[in-house]
């Protein structure tokens, strides 16, 4: 059911053309942040307006859309964005990573490997990887122009001096094709390796900051590190208590006030898929039913 009061996918055609032109330039200069005339959307800035505008500019009526937040399809903001597109574009939706043609995400890359032809749209709060080192846009723009990324390396090195390792756990900066340093959005650094050489098109939208950037498929993306302190993708040292997966990113859930906790896949589609295939974790309620 689509809402006839608004244009297909909400945005007017001129706005979509403007975003589409920005997307093509973003693909042509991987990792470079293209300014675009971000519009006020009917959801707040900081809640995915950049991703929503990118998705709106990309969707066709034939698409199958999946929306996740923190890896889950049923988190409230994911529900809200999915409903927005059901209402304004009338597109089919799914929770299955494999069935989706367009996936809008906040803070995760799905566990199920993406394929050619899929588009992954990231919601980005602060697109500028240098922002917390240099608050001025006029300065950081110059730094990208001159490839002056020394400040970033100094910051990472100071971490090592103080903590013995790089103390950045999410939004871990990457370098794209040896040129632009890029913020991968606040995904856990566990997801960073999936950015590189990915068969899908990865698009990044930052609405409040009016920036779009992109990674074409099979783009080489390297997490910044040092020879003596190589990048390590880390996660909780547990297996999923529901599906038993040992290689997925986990959420920690506190189950009582005595310190009991369990670990579950943050990617709910991945976890339910594994459980449906018979995989069981330490605390799976299904394992009891079967027993």
């Amino acid at each position: 059911m689509s809402d006839d009061a608004y244009n297909f996918a909400y945005l007017d055609e001129q706005t979509k053309r403007m975003i589409r032109r920005a997307l093509l330039k973003a693909l042509a200069i991987p990792g470079y942040q293209v300014p675009f005339a971000s519009r006020e959307m009917p959801m707040p800035y900081g809640w995915g307006t950049g991703g929503v505008q990118v998705t709106a500019a990309c969707l066709t009526p034939d698409d199958v859309l999946k929306v996740i937040d923190q890896g889950a399809d049923d988190t409230t903001n994911a529900v809200s964005i999915r409903r927005f597109f059901q209402r304004t574009a009338g597109v089919a939706t799914t929770e299955s990573t494999a069935e989706a043609t367009v996936i809008q995400t906040r803070h995760r890359i799905p566990e199920t490997p993406l394929t050619e032809g899929q588009i992954l749209v990231y919601q980005v709060p602060i697109p500028e990887p240098l922002r917390f080192l240099e608050p001025r846009e006029t300065e950081t723009r110059k730094m990208h122009e001159l490839e002056e990324y020394g400040l970033m390396h100094v910051k990472l090195y100071e971490d090592i001096a103080r903590h013995g390792e790089i103390a950045t756990a999410y939004a871990y900066p990457v370098k794209v094709e040896g040129r632009y340093v890029m913020d991968p959005s606040p995904i856990p650094k566990f997801d960073n390796p999936k950015l590189s050489d990915n068969p899908a098109i990865q698009l990044f939208g930052a609405g409040r900051e009016s920036r779009i950037y992109a990674l074409p498929p099979y783009t080489q993306v390297v997490s910044l590190d040092f020879e003596d302190h190589p990048f390590r993708a880390s996660k909780a040292d547990h297996a999923c208590d529901l599906c038993g997966a040992a290689e997925s990113y986990l959420d920690e859930v506190i189950t009582d006030d005595a310190g009991s906790r369990m670990f579950v896949c943050s990617d709910t589609d991945f976890c339910t898929g594994r459980q449906a295939a018979g995989h069981r974790g330490r605390l799976s309620p299904l394992s009891k039913e079967i027993a």
């Binding site: 005339a37 809640w47 988190t75 756990a169 999410y170 856990p188 579950v264 605390l283």
Partner: protein, 366 residues
Amino acid sequence: MYVAVKGGERAIDNAHAWLAEDRRGDTTVAELSVPQIREQLALAVNRVMAEGSLYDPDLAALAIKQARGDLIEAVFLIRAYRTTLPRFGTSIPVDTARMRVDRRISATFKDLPGGQILGPTFDYTHRLLDFKLAAEGAPLAPTPQAAPDMAPVPHVTALLDRDELIEATPDTGEAPPDLTRQPLELPANRALRLQALARADEGFILSLAYSTQRGYGRTHAFVGELRIGAVAVELEIPELGFAITIGEMTLTECETVNQFKGSRTEPPQFTRGYGLVLGQCERKSIAMSLVDRALRWKELGEDFTGAPAQDEEFVLSHADNVQATGFLEHIKLPHYVDFQAELELVRRLRAEALAQTQPSPRAAAE
């Protein structure tokens, strides 16, 4: 036992229903109508129009009703609606010298052509709660009326300009940038800065302006003139070859006259700060003109003292309350993926730090 976090859809539906109920409040109390808000909460309506960048009192009143009186939320509703409006054309610049003024005061001249007109102002009311308003209102006695004076009301700055006592601001004919159609680009020119300030959060601009008065980027401002009234909005029709009036809107305009000691190339002269806001928004327009003047330090060859109100990038990046409130409030969205990553990191760093610096408590006890 852990239950997978499901039920987002139902939770949202129920929250919306509850919100609608709370918005209505006690049903034994009569419901507010949009015209009541438009007529009786006009200054709230004006603020929503100004910061929403859309001149439509009925829609602004509806937004206030829908937002339960949360004005930033109402501004947000108006902005989101504005996104969907096609643009049919661009008006020719409104002429505030031809404003039909309801209020016009100058702090720099005791009297001046066009006169001082106090108008409907709170200024000299005693701020005592008027308990008569709590009762059902009796009909008001009519306000005395003077015969309308249709003579133009020249700007105070135009009078100063005649003697070259104030900086000249010739019309360059350059089209102003459009913040609503182009991303903000820094450094910004004055037209773009003014546009950003006109739709900026009143509270933010007020505090910045106040900070300049307290010495953080002092600008020695006098209110040369403050005027509120209706101006005609005219649109050039290419097929007709002339402009026609398509409506009128109320504007508030403030021009400050600021001290300037002169430089090597310029003799001493007064300089300008400017504020122009949709609707009757007096506080905002005065504050805007102070901040405008503070931001002009570079073009006037003044020093940057590090004051927040002088810092264009700081002011323009943080003045929009729809952006600010969205980003501020987004931190209540789930962040457990990021937090989990931090949790792992802090646990590991702690374990390493403790292993290095302390013998284990058990070893110490033995």
